[in-house]
Symmetry: D2
Subunit: 510 residues, 4 copies
């Protein structure tokens, strides 16, 4: 998918266990791909990057675009190697893919020198691994005794909650997760690619009371997401709660925070087994947890009401909360939502609720601006039948925006929406807070760009939006354009003085 | 255990899941430990090395013994890091141990700068992980569906065999392995630390027919050992056999050779589950495999007879096969046997059969000469009640022999036996073969050293042996000395013109 | 200069010994800068990149945008380190700059963790190096005996030639180089940033007879450029010639090819000293070399005539040789010419001759497409009084083109010219040759983009050119727009079936 | 020299510019050599280590003794690479040697895979660099203007001093240094391999007043030694003095401390040029500095008197100062003195004064215990006509002592002296100071070993010494034994409660 792309390569897979792959040239081709690899590394995406290299016979001689790619990639991949012989190409590709699936998935890198790529060898001498025979299943149950232990813990619990993280999607565990929360009657929060596991409106779907729940729960089950900065390194969980962690990766379990119980394996298989183990009992405790759920539902309602004024704001310049709300209203059951940016996009996390699992994509723990166009490209390529809507900050769009042209060329129409505040606003807030108004704007203001013209130049559809009540109609027209085969850009001018709450608290650094 | 040791650090653990730990000073203290770390890396031993470092405040300034230890250790550890804050010491120790147990175990490294080590902090600010709460169980079952698949394969099999590798010991899976081979009536071969899982004489214990079995079997189950050079990278297994691989490490399964089925998890738990799954059936096929076992037993007998002449040889200089045979005869149920060397020790692999699991230690896939004294030290420290016999080549002994003094000082008596051919003979053979007799001896001959005097100098017991019929009496006297609390060295002069068969075939390079 | 830039950071310095500097955020901010660092590494540009990093107190905990930057940068920098204490910031900046100037210049990298950046310390405790006191002069003469040796060699030589490479500019050695070739009457070829050392028309300026000269010369002096792929690794020099290499970097001298004499030091100081040493003699041999120069001048003339037809071609689509010729005619004494691209730009190397040293910039040995906009930005920033003309391939422009907006915002107008063949044509040629016409176009064709509209969208000037005779008028209008303060883009549609000769010979891989 | 050696490899060269070389096997052969490489890295010794490696065709497959050697060596070498083609072996050896001599010398590493080593190629295709044609001279003068500047500074100076460091020997600059101090009448201190540049008793030889001189001088010239921990990072020099630094390495000049002037190049060539530049003047100021020298000479005398009591001590156990004094008295003009150890050897730095340059060797900035036997071996091999005396701490000797056997085998007799306090005493002092008497002895006491018997066992000469007045006679007998061809070990039992002053101040950590 990355042919002639200016973006960083991006894995996007339709099926669990199917990794992405990109091939790039040596030197700048490979270094331009590093951000994509690093993003996959932090986001736990299985992905093989194959890079070119000068001829092995010219090793260390200064060949064209020669760089020590493998040395650079090793720190951010699960495996990085040079293929030293033509006979080994297929074998080492299998090796690289295998390593992608060890524990939490991630990227691998192979460099194939020019002479290794060009040589011809006897096929009989080469190892050609057969599909399905070069690696084991990833669907591990972990330690069966721990399944029983967790069932015991949950059955006795009165105020449990569960956080469904990215690996719920990685493992295609949505059904298992839904069965788990429904059977055991446990309130569920979602983050990362786990969003959409339960649809908005589902009685076990919670999203505005997470902090309260983590503070009051007696049992907290963390599924498939690490105690990293997004979780305050685990510090925000009640210290008296029984904390259980379920993860694909052994290295993640117990990291940064003590746990009462950890289980390593496929999170879907584990949730299913726990559900089964609890269901077999005379009473799984579902009923006694109803009061706890009602308590949280009341909190959810109160939280939603607080935001309503901003969601419906008619102020000008347009309040970015209004855009967030409009987008959520606009989503269909089948829209894949992609957020790419800082503050304007972060605000949508309070409003946008994908209707299905696998229909939310964001910059992830690396905070990689510029993921939008390549994510949109990949999503549309894998799911041509779906609508893909990508909401960009203006700073983010211009990082990889030229691949809008690639979308035109490869017939991959998507609906781009830009929340344009002519600034890198998340940085701007912190900078003002730290260094004062005088130095606060240095290096974070951007020009006022009518991005709709960019789309038009490339044969797409474009529109500028200045009025709150024009948001919806413009989105509708963009949708029609996309349906007709044209990618579209709706450039919405928003208020640069409205910030996301996390930005104002600088939560991400605590 | 490594205080004032001249040896490389060595993990030796009495219980599965308990890693070794060594603390060394910065600079040469750490670099002298690298071979030990590398050995643990290839041998899959869980082991934390903690090294000193110059003050963080003097970073890159040229402090005493400053070296970039972490950069050097990263390629041969599962985790290597600097501890940057005193508050993080306990946390990062837990992190390093956790990483040791991810997949196949291995070493980790932490470097603690001088000022970080010396500073005092508020304990409340430091994270102090609780034992048992910083990591998950390692006793994974893998994918339960594959347990059923393997049971199906085995029940139908007529000519199966199993290779029990090092991880059978790592996982303390000896009971499970014995039950597996007995219940299903499968001939078992053992290698690495898997030796001794079945005692010599057991009806399912095989060791001279492995090549035949791998060629004729319909199902081959490889347990806990990779397809590395010791297995000819998997090339020596029948291409028509159903090959099953069970391993702690996802990255090992399917590597270098296609497999029919791979299962990743605790090898003991998996073998037990497969036994259970097969036993539940009306017929597990045990009886129909009897002819196959008889066929192999006949081969074993023939193989043993071939070697008998050398085992009983009375030639002078002493034939190293005679020494190997004498040592095997001399072992008790409770002797931990350690081999440290090249050819003279390799020869013992044809004769020495430990009576219990965990009673065989060797240089492993790194081929690390000099492991003997530190292994003996560690084995005796952990098992003071057992006899530890270490058989050295003379080249190997002199690499780390000074720690014989450490054994005296820490009261860790063991029985050292040297097969002394005054050469690095394994290298010598290959060199002669490759470069001719003239250059064949360059750089591989050693002096004629009466090592018994070394033992005596340090307060141990020593003896020189020149006659075949003096081997046993000398060993007996050594045993008595050890019982009295003195380490002993029996220096046996052997024929430098007898080589191990693998050496003559250069199998290790194919 | 890189604030809010989407480009890779780019050093551009007005004075020798003054390095560039860029500051970027952690994670993707740093990884997006890697291509720029790698380019500086291969191009020998002194340059300090400072990257952010998560708090040291959160080391290895998964903080926002945490990546092992230093590990990734080490392979492509002269120095890369974390600053571990606030007291050390100034000191380590001085250390990083010092390392930039060790031998051939290059990039350094420092990462400053968030808490190190934010802490306040007693200034007295911090080391604050004084300007000029933290490093030595770079103006080394090398071994004085070798200066004499080279003077001897040259005075005796009858058919010498000299290649003036990039370091002639790095060392600001243009005057010394001119004096050298004029005093000793030696024909000079130039490459890289050495172009322009002698102006076109100068009697010692040669550029179409290099291969002939390297084949026939008795003495070849290579100044400040390595025997890398651009020099056929030194293989294309006559094997009977006396080859002399002068370079800033010890590691470059004698690399890939034997030399008769090597001198390491400041190339200007060395050329001056050699001129002086030769001048002091009764006869420096200048006159006897006149026949050799005439021989080469005849070759130059013949070479120029061969190209004339293409330079004046009126064919449609426009022949890229015509564009190259028009650009050269259009250059003023004060135009800094930048080439950014593959084939269309490579073709200009046959036509464009900068009038002054330091007025030619190209992608360098890393072959980094996309250097154009950031190079133009930097050149205009440092030399606001000069005209900056950048000629892009269309593939190259779209890699970093969004920074055209940065040029508008920071008032850095330049004249951009695009040679648009809607393809990555250099790759395309090789691909067709290797894999046939069917697969030859896969992944290297681009859309037909009217780039003039991009300029207009951002407030710049734009124009499309389809006719050969419209090139000059369009360039003139672009020049006027730039003078009025607007950056401009002239999008010239060129014939995709004309290739550079090196592309057709695949010289870069030999 | 390292064939069948148990020591770490050690460079020892008779001629400047001639590097050492060692060849070791893969895996533990290479990792056991790492301490030697690291020592050469910190000690600025040019040295190529060539390691084996598994076949390139088995890359990443787990071949025998396969380790990522290059990755491990890169952080501690100037250059580390795999040779990927047989045709490149000679070329890459030349590349590795060239890199050894870039700036301050240091080690390089090449790994040659088994199949690359064994393949046969057409010699015409291989690049075989000619001796003397693959690299430039290292005898750089630096910036000639700075030579004049330094001459000006010195001529005006009234209270100058110079420190002659290791590079005075590296550059074989002893004559130039002597001429410099004598012509300009400057007091000289020496450290590292610079010791012996001036013989004891020379009017410009100073060694007990360095701290005073650094405090009172108006000009301090540091020659060929970095501002590392041994120099208190430059903090101990008067802040009002003009500080000049002369060094082979650009990266060292101005590091850790501001300088008034820095010159990079061959220190001998530079000192000679400065002497010439100063001598040409009517008055080089030599006379006016006489008072300053007298002031220092008085200090030297007082310093010597303070130590006399300990030097002549008759106490029992023997005072290690007495041993130090006896050794100094015992040295001939032609004795190469090697110190290997902690405290007992550090004490000799106060007494032992080599009579010639190049006749002092010590563990260097890495503080590498165990250098003694390999240094002695190398020194004797290169200078068979000289006496080699190595003084060991007992802890140090036992690290590499087995190579005493190698000395016997290769006929390299040397006189070993052990200052035996049965402890790692330097560590012991700090440990007692920091953790109290109870924990002060943990892990640093050694057994009481009669090392003379070790020598005897291996065919050498040995003697135990308990009485102060027996030191000299025993040394004499050892000398005779060595003359007869036997290596000797004189084991002197010394008082474990006498420490070096630096140890008591913990100077090395400040």
């Amino acid at each position: 998918m990355c042919a002639t792309s200016r973006s960083r390569p991006t894995p996007r897979t339709a099926t669990p266990g199917k990794p992405g792959c990109a091939v790039v040239t040596a030197g700048p081709g490979t270094t331009d791909a590093i951000t994509g690899v690093a993003n996959a590394f932090r986001a736990e995406s299985p992905f093989l990057l194959i890079g070119g290299q000068g001829a092995l016979s010219q090793h260390k001689m200064g060949s064209l675009q020669d760089l020590p790619h493998v040395d650079m990639m090793q720190p951010i991949t699960k495996f990085a190697a040079t293929v030293p012989h033509t006979e080994r190409i297929a074998d080492m590709v299998s090796m690289a893919f295998r390593e992608c699936f060890n524990g939490a998935p991630g990227p691998s890198f192979l460099e194939i020198p020019r002479d290794v790529l060009d040589a011809q060898v006897d096929l009989k001498k080469a190892r050609i691994p057969a599909a399905g025979q070069y690696r084991a299943s990833t669907r591990s149950l972990g330690d069966p005794d721990d399944i029983q232990r967790l069932a015991d813990i949950l059955v006795k619990s009165e105020r449990p909650c569960v956080l469904l993280g990215t690996q719920v999607w990685t493992c295609r565990a949505s059904d298992a997760a839904r069965e788990f929360v429904r059977t055991l009657n446990i309130p569920a929060y979602m983050n990362g690619a786990g969003r959409g596991t339960l649809p908005p409106g589902d009685p076990h779907h919670f999203n505005r009371t997470r902090r309260y729940a983590f503070d009051k729960a007696d049992v907290i089950v963390i599924v498939g997401t690490p105690f990293d900065f997004r979780m305050g390194y685990g510090k925000r969980l009640s210290s008296s709660a029984t904390v259980v962690q379920i993860d694909l990766d052994y290295r993640t379990v117990g990291k940064n925070r003590d746990i009462s119980l950890g289980i390593v394996g496929d999170v879907g298989r584990i949730l299913k087994a726990v559900t089964d183990a609890a269901t077999g009992r005379t009473d799984n405790g579902a009923k006694k947890r109803e009061a706890w759920l009602e308590e949280l539902r009341a909190g959810e309602k109160a939280g939603g009401e607080k935001l309503a004024a901003m969601f419906h704001s008619n102020s000008k310049p347009i309040n970015p909360y209004r855009v967030a709300w409009e987008i959520n209203e606009f989503l269909t059951e089948d829209t894949i939502y992609i957020g790419d940016g800082g503050d304007v996009v972060t605000i949508t996390a309070q409003a946008v609720q994908p209707r299905q699992p696998g229909h939310w994509m964001d910059p992830g723990p690396l905070g990689t601006l510029g993921v939008g166009v390549p994510f949109a490209m990949a999503a549309k390529y894998v799911h041509p039948e779906k609508e893909v809507l990508c909401y960009f900050g203006d700073g983010a769009f211009s990082l990889t925006g030229w691949d809008f042209e690639t979308c035109v060329r490869f017939n991959l129409p998507f609906l781009g929406v830009i929340g344009n505040n002519s600034a890198m606003n998340q940085i701007r807030y912190g900078q003002i807070a730290k260094y004062g108004a005088n130095r606060g704007d240095v290096g974070n203001k951007l020009g006022d760009v009518p991005y709709s013209k960019f789309a038009e130049m490339l044969g797409g559809y474009g529109e500028e939006v200045y009025e709150p009540d024009q948001i919806r109609p413009a989105l509708e027209r963009g949708r029609e354009a996309v349906k007709s085969g044209k990618p579209a850009l709706i450039n919405i001018w928003v208020d640069p003085n409205v910030y996301a709450p996390g930005t104002m608290n600088q939560t991400m650094y605590k």
